[in-house]
């Protein structure tokens, strides 16, 4: 079973781990990190398929995903800071109020 195929499976595993993390952890920062993990899994899948098809487009998509991830982190952490400023907490369940 060649490398790329293993990579696809690995990406599946990582994605699942990220999903579980995002589902069960309450620390917003960790949740964000789990989402990053999921994105990374996706990147891995992209790269693996680009290897399988010997086509570079997949890697372009990885770059796009990375950009999106960077943006997401910037905004997400901005929100975290704002939240912490108001709630003194980064527990996602303290942010369950739908209005301020």
């Amino acid at each position: 079973m060649d490398l790329a195929h293993q990579a696809v499976l690995l990406s599946g595993v990582l994605f699942a781990i990220g999903t579980v993390g995002a589902l069960v952890r309450r620390n917003i920062i960790v949740i964000l990190m789990s989402i990053e993990l999921m994105l990374n899994a996706v990147n891995l899948a992209f790269v693996a398929f680009s290897r399988i098809w010997a086509h570079v487009d997949g890697q372009i998509f990885v770059l796009m995903v990375i950009v999106v991830a960077a943006a997401e982190v910037a905004v997400g952490l901005g929100i975290v800071i704002a939240l912490f400023r108001n709630r003194e907490s980064i527990n996602v369940e303290d942010a369950s109020l739908l209005k301020w």
């Binding site: 790329a4 990579a7 599946g12 069960v24 990053e36 891995l44 796009m64 910037a74 905004v75 929100i79």
Partner: protein, 165 residues
């Protein structure tokens, strides 16, 4: 040789990911284990002939994104991650089940359905190759993502700034 390296990196990646998710005491440690995952993924990318992407992966994810995470954790001075996983047993259990099931389905799905790997053109995945594609076929997405970044920067500033005046 390559197979060995791959297995090693894969192992590291999974371990790092698990450590990140399961570490309920120390956010910094979680972030650092995420870094492990990132770097080993970078290694895997190299093994998959995606050199540029590998470097970018390490530079951006390991070098910037996770550092920002650490930065925020330190800024908020969260000594200890005082709360464990979600108190809602249901969510937790379902989440775990969902994850396992997802993996299982994926394995079933992929098992023997992936096409054979094509032979590579030389220079594949190098910065020339990728750059050429990025700035010709994908120019518009590229520009659009730049806009996205700009928006994100502004948003982050607006959110994190104490007073807007």
């Amino acid at each position: 040789m390559i197979q060995v390296l791959f297995s090693l990196f894969a192992l590291l990646a999974v371990i790092g990911a698990l450590a990140m998710v399961l570490n309920v005491r120390n956010t910094i440690a979680a972030a650092l284990s995420l870094v492990v995952t990132m770097i080993s993924l970078g290694g895997i990318f190299v093994l998959l002939e995606a050199h540029l992407v590998a470097v970018i992966q390490i530079m951006v994810y390991a070098g910037a994104i996770v550092v920002v995470f650490l930065f925020v954790v330190m800024l908020l001075n969260l000594r200890r991650d005082v709360f464990g996983p979600s108190g809602q047993r249901l969510t937790k259990a379902l989440g775990a089940v969902a994850g396992v099931w997802l993996v299982y389905r994926l394995l079933v799905l992929l098992e023997g359905r992936l096409p054979a790997t094509q032979p590579l053109p030389d220079g594949f995945g190098g910065y020339r190759d990728v750059g050429m594609a990025l700035f010709t076929d994908f120019l518009l997405p590229f520009e659009v993502t730049s806009l996205l970044l700009l928006a994100a920067i502004v948003g982050a500033i607006v959110l994190a700034k104490r007073r807007l005046d």
